[in-house]
């Protein structure tokens, strides 16, 4: 499937490999995590309230729509985070294993 974003220039940069939902994704040095994911993917996360996938909105750190998770469960704002080699990202919210109440 085609990515949502289209790279128009500056494609000669060094490559960085990250993993998104377990699959390898090639990012370029200087990308934001958001661009790295959306250059080959269609969304970043799902709305908490059931109205579908989200792919970010403002790209300037104001709307907080583009949050993704590390596999360790930490949140990252994809539009202001830079991908680092070996980064492992999840586009779905980890379950609340810390609060497994009956």
């Amino acid at each position: 499937m085609q990515g949502r974003f289209v790279r128009l220039a500056e494609t000669g940069r060094a490559q960085v490999t990250i993993h998104v939902d377990g699959a390898p994704v090639t990012a370029l040095e200087g990308d934001t995590l958001m661009v790295a994911i959306l250059a080959s993917g269609r969304h970043l996360r799902r709305s908490e309230f059931g109205d579908g996938p989200r792919a970010g909105f403002c790209l300037m750190g104001a709307c907080q729509d583009c949050w993704v998770w590390t596999e360790a469960g930490d949140r990252l704002r994809a539009c202001t985070t830079q991908p680092a080699e070996g980064m492992r990202i999840s586009t779905s919210q980890p379950g609340a294993t810390w609060a497994s109440l009956t």
Partner: protein, 458 residues
């Protein structure tokens, strides 16, 4: 007594020019900025390893962008520059910052808020589908990342930025589906006398329109956006709108760039306890300031688009002007001739901005027409119908009350993108003027603050 502590928040045109003036007077200001690199949004810098030249990035504004960046670089070593730093609260003459997961409070004698602006948004049904971006966001994608937000992008909204970004997309080789402007063409003609306050800018604007036409991009004025088409899996697939002649039409697109001019980022002015006033021309609440940028709170100054949307050129002037006000209030000498010249410049920019507000008016009436099922608050998934119900059934006719009952504006973005439209929805439903609905109060921490934030030992 040591040097006064002067803090500037924001390293865009206003913040950089303010810093230059303060450094020129022998001070060493602190510049706090959320960005990774100085420059702000309009003159946003690309990452260090990108190679595109200034002309390609900033077009007619290349010279100004370069001058601003060079000006900032020349300040190195003479300012305390703190990039990637959030100011999350202001209290007791301190700004409270978070950077890299650590908290630090910095004292100030004078505080200059140069917080800039974000897109002003009027929701449209379907704008919560993946692939709808703010117009400013569409520009950031291109300028800072050399990307287009889609393969066929529809530009929807109003204001000069709509044409600028669409033209930049065309020039960069991106696919542009159409430019759909809600403002009628006649409004632009009527605003001409005021727009002539900046003939160069006006000429550049006309040139952009012509460039778009030459590229074969469909331009529509006086449209009413009806719906972003698509579905949850695919995201955006098109757009339905009513054209200037009242005909309903649809176009295909895989992305929408949506923006209705700008709104100032005023949360920090709120937390600094500045007074606000309603500006009828733009139907926005703005922090009160005198002609030079003094807020209602002694020691707190406002400059740039964060105070009032006058554009990047004006931000350079108001930044410097506010810095001169700081110097004067600290008892330091200020050149009266420069002061008068800057005030004159700002008056010209203000006249032009008034013309823009008339040429590209905020389509307030659209809020009342949004179908009930339209998502108004993207963070909390609150629809226009939900909000109207709280007005009708719970009597919420004030912005913060409507928020308390419906959750509109209660999410992560703190109402930045839904607050002004929500106020118009409430006003329309309650049948009261929008100024009577009031405004959402700014609340700490301005942007999300990690619970795990580390503190330095006291």
């Amino acid at each position: 007594m040591g040097q006064p502590d002067v803090i500037i928040i924001g390293a865009g045109p206003a913040g950089v020019r303010a810093a230059e003036a303060l450094v020129g007077a022998g001070l060493r200001p602190t510049i706090i900025d959320e960005g990774r690199r100085a420059g702000g949004q309009i003159y946003r810098r690309q990452p260090e390893n990108f190679r595109r030249p200034y002309g390609e990035l900033y077009g007619t504004e290349a010279g100004r962008a370069k001058a601003l960046h060079d000006g900032f670089d020349a300040l190195a070593g003479r300012v305390d520059y703190r990039p990637e730093t959030l100011v999350w609260n202001i209290a007791d003459r301190h700004v409270w910052t978070a950077a890299g997961g650590r908290q630090q409070a910095l004292p100030f004698d004078a505080l200059l808020l140069c917080t800039g602006a974000t897109d002003r948004l009027m929701p449209v049904k379907g704008w919560d589908l993946a692939g709808t971006y703010s117009l400013g966001g569409a520009q950031v994608a291109l300028k800072a990342q050399a990307c287009a937000i889609g393969r066929r992008v529809a530009f929807v909204g109003t204001g000069p930025l709509l044409y600028l970004v669409a033209a930049q997309y065309v020039k960069a080789g991106a696919g542009v589906a159409a430019v759909l402007d809600t403002s009628p063409f006649a409004a632009r003609v009527a605003a001409l006398p005021k727009l002539l306050a900046q003939p160069g800018v006006l000429r550049d604007g006309v040139a952009l329109t012509l460039a778009l036409k030459r590229a074969g991009v469909a331009l529509h004025a006086g449209v009413e956006p009806l719906e972003v088409l698509g579905d949850a899996d695919a995201g955006v697939t098109g757009l339905r709108f009513r054209d200037g002649r009242g005909r309903e039409r649809a176009i295909g697109a895989d992305a929408v760039a949506l923006g209705y001019h700008l709104r100032p980022e005023t949360q920090l002015a709120d937390l600094a306890r500045c007074a606000f006033a309603f500006e009828p021309k733009t139907r926005q609440w703005l922090p009160e300031r005198d002609g030079d940028g003094r807020s209602s709170v002694p020691g707190v100054y406002l400059a740039g688009d964060g105070a009032r949307i006058l554009g990047a050129r004006s931000a350079e002037a108001t930044g410097r002007l506010a810095a001169l006000a700081v110097l004067a209030d600290l008892g330091l000498p200020v050149d009266a001739g420069e002061l008068a010249d800057l005030r004159r410049q700002v008056a010209g920019y203000a006249r032009f901005a008034e013309g823009l507000a008339e040429a590209f008016p905020w389509p307030a009436a659209q809020a009342g027409k949004l179908p009930d099922e339209t998502v108004l608050c993207r963070c909390e998934n609150v629809t226009a119908g939900d909000l109207r119900r709280t007005v009708r059934e719970a009597g919420a006719k004030e912005a913060n009350r409507a928020k308390a009952f419906s959750r509109v504006g209660m999410g992560r973005c703190q109402g930045r993108y839904c607050g002004q439209a929500a106020a118009e929805v409430v006003a329309a439903e309650a049948g009261v003027p929008v100024e009577q609905v009031g405004r959402l109060r700014g609340q700490a921490p301005v942007k999300p603050l990690p619970i795990a934030i580390e503190e330095d030992a006291p």
